[in-house]
Amino acid sequence: MITAFFFRALDGKTWAVLAVLLGIGIALPLLSLTDPSFPLHVPTYVVALVGKYLCYALLALSVDLVWGYCGILSLGHAAFFALGGYAMGMYLMRQIGTRGVYANPILPDFMVFLNWTKLPWFWHGFDMFWFAAIMVLLVPGLLAFVFGWFAFRSRVTGVYLSIITQAMTYALLLAFFRNDMGFGGNNGLTDFKDILGFNIQAPETRGVLFFASAFALALGFLICRAVIASKFGKVLIAVRDAESRTRFIGYRVEGYKLFVFVLSAMMAGVAGSLYVPQIGIINPGEFAPANSIEAVIWVAVGGRGTLIGPIVGALLVNFGKTWFTSGVLAEYWLFVLGGLFIAVTLFLPKGVVGTLMARARKKPDETKAPGALSPIEASQAAEEGA
C-alpha cells in the first residue's frame, strides 16, 4: 500500500527531479575527490557551499508544503531548522570527548567553562547517533504538534498565524541566547571533531554529507509529491482555497493542517541536522525571524505550490547571495534581496517555476499540475467567500 502511495507520485517530472538530485549528489563529491589537474575537478569549498544550498532547498521545500498547499504561511520554520541543527550539534559535541580544550570526557567545553558539574538531563543520550537522529525528527515534530494543535484548533489563521509563528521563533531565539538553557548560549555549539567516527573535515566525509543532503532533498521531494498526489493532498488544496467550505463538507480541517505542519517541521529539522555538520557551527542566530522570512522568499521566487519551485528558488537566491556578498557589491545585497521581495510579489506572483509551468500548461500531459486555482486567485476567492 505504501509503495502504491509512492508510485502514484512518480510521474515523469518527479523521476527527472529525483534523477537530477541524486546525480548531483553522487557526481559532485566524486569530482571533488579527483586530482586538481582533472578538467572537471570541483574544489572542496564548492561541495560545502552547494551542500549548504541543498539544506536550504529542503527547508524551502518544507515551507512550500505548508504554504503552497495548505495556505499556512509559517514565519517560524527557521525554528524547526535550528532545533534539528541543535539536536545534531549536541551529538557532535558529545563526540568531541576529551579532545576539547578542557578535556572533560563527559561535559562539553562551555559547561566546564560555566562551572557545571554534571550533564543536564536533556543532554543524556546524545552520545548515540541513533538517539540524536530520532531527536532530529522528534523535537521539531513535537513542537510543531503542540503549537499546531493549539493554533489550528482555535482557528488561528492567515496573518495571525504568521505573527504567532514569528513570536515562537523569536521566543526561542531569546531562550537559546541564555547561558542557563544549556545550549552554549551566544556562542552556540561548534568545534566539532567527527561524526560516526569519521573526521568531519575530511573531503570524503564532506562528500558523504553532501550526498546525504541530496538524498534527503530527493526523499523529501518524493514524500511531498506522494502527499500532494494522494487524496489527502487534494483535501489540503481544498483547505488552502476555501477552508470554511471544506469544513462544512465534513472534513476535519485541523487534522489535515496539523499533519502537514508536523511533517513539514520534521523535514525542516532534517535540513538543519544536515546543515550543521557541513557548516561546523550552530548558534541562536539561526532562530532569527529574518531567516524564516528569507526561507519564504526562496519559495516565492521559485514559485509556491510547485515543489520544484522552492528548490530552484533556494538555489537561485543563495547563489545570488554568495556571488553578491563575496565581491565589492556586498553592500548592495540587501537592496537586491529587498527588491526581490517586492518584484516577486508584484510582478511574479507565481514565481519562476510557476510562471514557466503556467506557459507549458497547454500541453495535454501537464493537466495534473496541482491547484487549478492559482494561490492568489484562491486567497481572493476566500476573501470574497467569507
Binding site: 495571525y160 513570536a167 523569536y170 531562550a175 534581496l337 486567497s379
Partner: protein
C-alpha cells in the same frame, strides 16, 4: 565607651566652633595656630586642637586629619609645624594648610608630633563638628549622612547641638536619623532606643532596615520587640515601594511599546496591512532627529533645547511621506492579499535599512538629550528620570491626538467609513485610494514621531526598527486589531507584566514568558483583547 573628659572637650569645641563660624579666619592667624600644635605636651595639644576647630575654617579639617594620621612634624630649625612624607632616608616637607612645598629635611631635622587615642577621638569630633556646623547645607547634609552610616555614639552630643541649630528641615531630618542610628549603637536606656527605632522606622529604606535588623537580632527585651516591629513595617513599606516602582517601570516600558505600536495599530489594525517596514519608519524618525540635532549643533547651538520640538513635525513629514510613497508604489497593488503585503513590506524594510546603513554608516549615532530631558527626581523611594517621564506623557499625548483625529475630523470619519465598508464608502463619494494613502501616511508619520521619542532612550542605528517590530505586532494583536483602545491597554498590560516578571525570572526569561503568554492568549481569543464585533470579524 570613651572617657568622660573627651566629651567635655568636645562640647567645649562645639561652643568655640559656634563662636568661630562667625569669625573670619586669616591665613597668617591660621599658620600660627597650626604651629601651636607642636609646642608642648598633650594638654597643650588638646587646647591647640580646640583653638583650630574654633576657627570654623574648612582648611582646618585636612590639617587635623594629617595630625590624626601622624603625618605632622615639627621642623627643628624654626619650630614650624609641617606635613612630611618619607622619601629615601629623609622627608619631603609641605605646608599643612596651603600644601606648598617646603623642601627636604633629614631624619634629624624634624620631630613627629605624637598622638594617642584620646587625641584621635578629639580630632574626629572636631572635624565632624566642623562639617556638621558648616555654613553650606550640602556639606551639613553629607556630614550627617556620614554619621548615619558610621552610627558613632560619640557624635550624639555633637548632633544634639547641630539639630538644635539646624534650620533646613531636610538636613534636620537626616541629622535626627543619624542621631537615632548612633543611639541604637550606644548604651543609652531602652526608652531612648525605642524612640530612636521610631525615628528610624519612618525612614523606611534598606539602610534603616539593616540597622534595625541587627538591633532586632540583639538581646531580648522591649528594644528587640520594637525593632522587630519596625523591621516588619519597613519591609512592608519597601515591598509596597517595590510594587510602585515595578508599576512605574512597567508604565514606562508600556509607553515605549505604545509609541512603537500605535502607528501599526492604524496601518495593521485599521487598514489591515501587515507593514513589516513599520520599524523602519520609527528608525527614519530617529534619524531625522539625529540630522536636526546635527544641524543645530553645527549652526544654531542655542536652539539645542528645542531640537526635539523641531524634529517632531519633520519626522512626521519624512516618515509620512515615505509611507505614502510605499502605499502608492507597492501596497495598493496588494490589497486583499495580506501575506504578499507582508513579504513586500519586508523587502522594503531591508532596502530602507540598507539605505540608512549606506548613507549614515552602520554604527550608532549620537542623539543628545535636551536639558529638560536629562536628570531625575525622587518620588518617595523611587527615582524617576525625566526622559522616561516625558516619554510616558508624550505617548499618551500622541494617543489622545490620534483618537481625536480619527473620531472628530472629516478625515477620520472617512477613514473609518472606508475601513467599515469600502464599496459603500466609495459609492458615497469618498475617494478611497486617497484615504488609503493618507491613512497609511498617518500611521507611518506617527511611527516617525515615535522614533523621535525613542531616539532619547535607545541607540539610533539602522537596526533600531528591527528591535521593535515583533513587540509592536504583539501589542496590536494582543490588544485587538482595529481598536486603538485595545492597543493602549495591550501596551501597558504587556509592559507592566514584563516588569513584574523580571525580578523573578530575569529580563530575557520575562520577555519569553510574555511572548508565550501572548501565543496562548491568541489561541483563546484569536481576535485579541477587544475584538471588533460585527461582520468584519468573519473575514
Amino acid at each position: 565607651m570613651r572617657p568622660f573628659p573627651s566629651r567635655l572637650a568636645a562640647l567645649a569645641i562645639i561652643a568655640l566652633t559656634l563662636f568661630g563660624v562667625l569669625r573670619p579666619a586669616f591665613g597668617a592667624d591660621l599658620t600660627a595656630q597650626v604651629n601651636a600644635l607642636g609646642q608642648g605636651d598633650y594638654a597643650a595639644l588638646e587646647k591647640a586642637i580646640g583653638d583650630l576647630a574654633a576657627t570654623g575654617d574648612p582648611q582646618v579639617a585636612p590639617v587635623l586629619d594629617a595630625l590624626s594620621n601622624g603625618d605632622l612634624y615639627v621642623r627643628k630649625s624654626d619650630n614650624a609645624v609641617v606635613k612630611a612624607t618619607k622619601s629615601g632616608s629623609g622627608f619631603t616637607l609641605t605646608d599643612p594648610v596651603t600644601g606648598a612645598a617646603l623642601g627636604e629635611a633629614g631624619r634629624s631635622g624634624v620631630t613627629k608630633i605624637k598622638v594617642n587615642n584620646k587625641i584621635r577621638g578629639l580630632v574626629r569630633s572636631a572635624t565632624g563638628s566642623l562639617t556638621l556646623m558648616s555654613a553650606d547645607p550640602a556639606q551639613r547634609r553629607s556630614a550627617a549622612a556620614d554619621v548615619f552610616r558610621s552610627g558613632d555614639p560619640a557624635q550624639i552630643p555633637l548632633l544634639d547641638q547641630a539639630i538644635a541649630k539646624e534650620t533646613d528641615p531636610g538636613v534636620k531630618k537626616i541629622m535626627t536619623e543619624a542621631r537615632a542610628a548612633a543611639v541604637l549603637k550606644s548604651d543609652m536606656g531602652d526608652a531612648d532606643k525605642i524612640a530612636a527605632i521610631a525615628v528610624l522606622s519612618t525612614r523606611a529604606d534598606q539602610d534603616a532596615l539593616a540597622m534595625l535588623a541587627s538591633t532586632a537580632s540583639g538581646p531580648d527585651g522591649a528594644v528587640k520587640s520594637a525593632a522587630a516591629d519596625a523591621v516588619a513595617s519597613i519591609q512592608g513599606q519597601l515591598k509596597l515601594w517595590e510594587g510602585v516602582q515595578n508599576i512605574w517601570y512597567g508604565v514606562s516600558l508600556g509607553s515605549v511599546l505604545l509609541l512603537a505600536a500605535i502607528g501599526l495599530a492604524i496601518t495593521f489594525g485599521v487598514m489591515g496591512i501587515i507593514n513589516m517596514a513599520h520599524g523602519e519608519m520609527v528608525m527614519l524618525g530617529a534619524y531625522t532627529t539625529f540630522v536636526v540635532q546635527e544641524i543645530i549643533r553645527n549652526s544654531y547651538p542655542e536652539l539645542f533645547d528645542w531640537s526635539l520640538a523641531i524634529a517632531l513635525p519633520l519626522a512626521f513629514l519624512v516618515s509620512g511621506a515615505v509611507g505614502v510613497l510605499i502605499e502608492r508604489s507597492v501596497i495598493r497593488f496588494l490589497y486583499g492579499r495580506p501575506l504578499e503585503t507582508l513579504l513586500a513590506t519586508w523587502g522594503i524594510s531591508l532596502i530602507l535599512q540598507q539605505a540608512v546603513r549606506t548613507y549614515f554608516g552602520p554604527n550608532n549615532r549620537e542623539v543628545g538629550n535636551p536639558s529638560w530631558m536629562s536628570g531625575a527626581f525622587d518620588l518617595g523611594n523611587i527615582a524617576i528620570t525625566y526622559n522616561r517621564m516625558w516619554i510616558v506623557v508624550f505617548a499618551l499625548g500622541v494617543f489622545a491626538v490620534l483618537m481625536l483625529v480619527l473620531k472628530r475630523t472629516p478625515f477620520g470619519l472617512q477613514t473609518r467609513a472606508v475601513t467599515a465598508n469600502r464599496p459603500m464608502a466609495s459609492s458615497m463619494g469618498i475617494r478611497t485610494p486617497l484615504v488609503d494613502a493618507l491613512t497609511f501616511g498617518l500611521g507611518s508619520g506617527i511611527a516617525g514621531i515615535a522614533g523621535v521619542a525613542l531616539s532619547q532612550i535607545d541607540n539610533v542605528s539602522p537596526n533600531l526598527g528591527q528591535s521593535y517590530i515583533i513587540d509592536s505586532f504583539m501589542v496590536v494583536v494582543f490588544g485587538g486589531v482595529g481598536n486603538l483602545w485595545g492597543t493602549l491597554v495591550g501596551a501597558f498590560t504587556l509592559g507592566i507584566a514584563n516588569k513584574f516578571l523580571e525580578p523573578y525570572a530575569g529580563a530575557v526569561l520575562a520577555k519569553i514568558l510574555v511572548l508565550v503568554f501572548i501565543i496562548l492568549f491568541i489561541q483563546k481569543r484569536p481576535r485579541g483583547l477587544f475584538a471588533l464585533k460585527g461582520r468584519s470579524v468573519e473575514a
